[in-house]
């Protein structure tokens, strides 16, 4: 790393107005609803109460402060964690305030929050036992403290709505909070069973809504500190390319430019947050840095990877469709041989494609780091707030005990901010360390999209043979995807997730996959893998059903016989959607079902297609089976959001790869759904309540693209086997 310093002077900041949201608690109560509060900067909120355990404190006035170790990226974590603890603790919801937990304490003192990442639609389904346990444990310790003072058995003490009672004795939780903090239980209590809840299961407004309607909610990119320096960055346009030289002479003498910092990739460090070659211009304002950066000329060496494009990838995929791959699932007899021997008139073969997609969270990739000799502070939009501590400790060789995360709201994440998915935190740390000023690095939208960790493209060929009853006798698929360095999976995503493990009862089946060694860094993405592959399998089974003379919904019921979660979704979908294949030309309904993050979700799309091929997605009916749910309001919002998320990609999105990099890197060319394109979304729940919990944040998306494509088929007679769907001519056949 080389650095060219220029004069640093403290930037005079004109402050004529009080900071909007300077750490105060907003006293706003949601009308006509149980309400709690959250501050615009929830990491600054002080508490003077007794700490019963790491998760909560109780103030003398009865205020319960719940420390949430997760991030709030729009999925409702602050509210969900707080409500699960309040349920067990049994305190009035109005007495609860939520703050973000101290990550320095977590990392350095035994990781008592167990899990701090917020991803994988797992907070409630997988973590509710230990979160609710924290509330239950605090409640029982309060009861024990009161029991000892009153000379009775703990079982004789009732704890309800912040009050402890037995016989004639009663006291507030606050009165025994200090004593409870000293109690050790012989045995931790069990958590409440579903159905015993007084708070969970109700429509609970999100705590973070009020601070998000007046500009006060603090995001990482909003961090403004006295003496701050700002950096704009040009990363190697082709991932892991080499910076040969650059000419920055055009920036000489420009006002406010403080220096240029060169970043270099290090041998053997190819992880998602490791440095790649690039340049940062550091200035006293971000816009000055960005304008100067645009004046710099670069010479890069991209090697052979600078030749890769969508066309070269397609050629590779088509070649690999004829090469045996790794078997991901096989059952029954020789499916490939049976299909080859079958009457060609009874065989269906189709090829599908999904392109690269990007997270494009509305908050561009950024980080602020303030390095001093005594301590380091960081503001980072990451889904794991403990991750920046480890990343900065690694980058600067500092002790994790000296690094503090100021947990901020995230301007979206969607699987793309998983604990340091880019080098931006390292870049900010390097700059702050060198300049000894707080440093904020913001990537332009173009850098954000080109250098995000993308969703890998998929190319899949499927074949099936049909029997006399019109149902498949044999099924074969061969999937090719392009993950970074040939990864086998990103979280649940694989080349053929939802295809190779499809629950349909194919009597003979074989599924193969190729993990191509892709040069574009890839990662998880809301609904990873299933969002792509449900588009494929759920259209292919419609092809099979229609070829075999079956109604698509009846086909799915028949092919999932005995599978209770799927049967429940399908029968409910039939009831609530009015699905029919009997609409006039130009109108269509289509269905899709997918299993994602432990939930089964079905969708029915209603579309109209005009004579010139203009598509309107009028309505999406979603039926969700997550086993259970704790907040129907937030659940509906998450499902609706996930529908828009995936239809954005399926209808409009699609990154285009050319010369080793992406060419549509802003919202004028990477198109996402807008309000006039958003369908009405009607959400229904069909919960098995059978001992298993599914996720809520992601499963709404996967069934939708196929539902829309199947509806387009019924409206037009055209089968749309690749996305973005609007790139196809939809003029009715």
């Amino acid at each position: 790393m080389t650095i060219m310093d220029k004069n640093i002077s403290r930037r005079a900041v004109i402050r004529t107005m009080a900071l909007a949201g300077g750490g105060m608690i907003l006293g706003f109560k949601v009308p006509n609803a149980m309400a709690s509060v959250v501050a615009p900067k929830p990491w600054t909120t002080p508490t003077d109460g007794a700490e019963i355990n790491a998760w909560l404190t109780i103030d003398a006035d009865g205020t319960v402060t719940i420390r949430v170790p997760h991030t709030e990226q729009g999925q409702g974590a602050l509210t969900a964690v707080s409500s699960m603890i309040a349920e067990e603790l049994d305190v009035p919801w109005q007495s609860v305030r939520a703050v973000f937990a101290d990550m320095n304490r977590h990392v350095n003192q035994g990781e008592e929050y167990v899990v701090t990442t917020t991803h994988g639609s797992q907070l409630i389904r997988q973590q509710h036992p230990h979160i609710m346990q924290a509330g239950a444990s605090a409640r029982e310790r309060l009861k024990e403290a009161a029991a000892r003072a009153w000379g009775v058995e703990r079982s004789a003490v009732v704890a309800q709505q912040g009050e402890l009672k037995t016989g004639d004795n009663s006291a507030s939780y606050a009165a025994f909070a200090n004593a409870a903090a000293e109690v050790t239980l012989d045995e931790e209590p069990a958590i409440k069973a579903y159905g015993d809840w007084w708070l969970l299961g109700k429509e609970l407004p999100r705590l973070d809504v009020p601070v998000k309607v007046n500009g006060s909610a603090a995001f990482a990119i909003d961090t403004e500190l006295d003496g701050m320096v700002y950096a704009a960055v040009r990363n190697t346009p082709v991932p892991w390319g080499r910076l040969v030289s650059y000419d920055a002479s055009a920036t000489d003498g420009r006002p406010g430019i403080l220096g240029i910092v060169e970043f270099r990739a290090e041998d053997g460090k190819r992880g998602p947050n490791h440095l790649q070659d690039g340049i940062a211009v550091v200035a006293d304002s971000w816009y000055r840095a960005k304008v100067a950066l645009d004046l710099i000329t670069f010479e890069w060496d991209f090697g052979a990877e600078g030749e890769i494009s969508d066309a070269t990838q397609r050629a590779e995929a088509e070649r690999l469709w004829d090469v045996p791959g790794e078997v991901s699932n096989e059952a029954g007899g020789d499916a490939v041989g049976m299909i080859a021997a079958a009457d060609p008139a009874r065989v269906v073969t189709s090829e599908y494609h999904r392109p690269y997609e990007t997270h494009a969270r509305m908050e561009p990739i950024n980080a602020t780091v303030h390095v001093t000799d005594a301590r380091i502070d960081v503001w980072s939009p990451t889904q794991d707030q403990s991750a920046p501590i480890r990343i900065i400790a690694d980058q600067l060789g500092r002790d994790t005990r000296d690094i503090y995360v100021n947990t901020v709201f995230l301007g979206g994440a969607f699987g793309g901010n998983g604990g340091g998915n880019t080098a931006v935190t390292r870049q900010a740390a390097i700059i702050s360390d060198r300049f000894r000023h707080p440093a904020k690095v913001i990537w332009t939208r173009e850098e954000d999209i080109n250098h995000d960790k993308q969703r890998p493209p998929h190319y899949t060929r499927l074949s099936a043979a049909l029997g006399d009853d019109g149902l498949p006798t044999a099924m074969f698929s061969r999937a090719v995807w392009f993950p970074f360095e040939g990864a086998d999976r990103h979280g649940p995503a694989t080349a053929d997730v939802a295809i190779g493990d499809s629950p349909y009862l194919f009597p003979n089946r074989r599924h193969e996959k190729h993990n191509y060694n892709g040069h574009i860094p890839t990662a998880t993405h809301r609904g990873p893998g299933v969002n792509q592959n449900a588009f494929i399998i759920e259209q292919f089974v419609d092809e099979l059903a229609l070829k075999g003379g079956w109604d698509p919904l009846e086909w799915r019921l028949k092919m999932t016989e005995g599978n209770e979660p799927w049967q429940r979704v399908l029968t409910t979908l039939r009831e609530v959607s009015g699905f029919t294949t009997e609409l006039p030309q130009g109108q269509g309904m289509g269905i899709g079902v997918a299993e994602d993050h432990g939930s089964v979700c079905g969708a029915c799309a209603t579309v109209s297609v005009g004579r010139r091929g203009d598509l309107v997605v009028e309505k999406i009916v979603v039926v969700q089976n997550s086993g259970y749910l704790i907040n129907p309001l937030n659940a509906r919002e998450q499902l609706t959001g996930a529908v828009c998320w995936e239809l954005s990609h399926a209808l409009y999105g699609g990154l285009r790869l050319q010369d080793g990099r992406f060419v549509n890197t802003n919202f004028d060319s990477y198109n996402l759904m807008r309000i006039h394109q958003a369908p009405e979304v009607d959400v229904h729940f069909a919960l098995s309540q059978d001992g298993w919990w599914g996720g809520m944040g992601e499963p709404g998306g996967p069934p939708c693209p196929a539902a829309v494509a199947n509806a387009i088929y019924f409206a037009t007679g055209k089968r749309i086997r690749s996305t973005p769907m609007l790139q196809h001519d939809l003029t009715p056949a």
């Binding site: 107005m17 729009g74 973070d208 309607v213 828009c644």
Partner: protein
């Protein structure tokens, strides 16, 4: 260069390069960070503010162009978050991540100034310049209708 303009009712004299987009002056010089950077090319609407009552994308307006004019940001839309839109946004539980919502509300406020009881197609036309990656469009539509009711009550 010293530039003088009014923001949320208060006169400011700011030292900035005249070609700097208003967005960055609001955020860095005035620390009004409710107005967001999203794309820099007036495609996402996260930076929406009002200049003399007109909706503008502040990422694409030079600060020199607002000299002598009145700028309103989300922080100045109302005292105490009590604008009908802010109340409706809370009632309808609109925000998820919240990053785009300042711009959504400023665009909706401009719409309600022109059309106090807008139709769905007016909402489509007025709000299509504002992206929401969380997909809160249905809630936004309901909240605008609700705000119209609140305003006319």
């Amino acid at each position: 260069m010293l530039l003088t303009f009014t923001v949320n009712g208060t006169a400011h004299e700011v030292d900035a390069d005249p070609e700097t987009p208003l967005l960055w002056v609001l955020r860095e010089k005035l620390r009004l960070t409710g107005t967001k950077f999203g794309c820099g090319i007036a495609e996402c609407g996260a930076c929406s503010v009002h200049v003399d009552g007109q909706l503008v994308k502040s990422c694409s307006v030079n600060v020199a162009a607002v000299v002598g004019r009145e700028v309103t940001t989300i922080e100045g839309l109302s005292p105490n978050s009590m604008h009908a839109l802010q109340r409706a946004w809370i009632e309808e539980s609109v925000p998820q991540c919240g990053y785009c919502q300042s711009g959504q509300i400023m665009a909706a406020a401009s719409l309600l100034e022109r059309s106090p009881n807008p139709s769905d197609s007016e909402i489509d036309a007025a709000m299509s310049g504002n992206l929401c990656r969380c997909g809160t469009y249905g809630q936004i539509r309901r909240a605008i209708h609700r705000a119209a009711e609140i305003s006319q009550a």
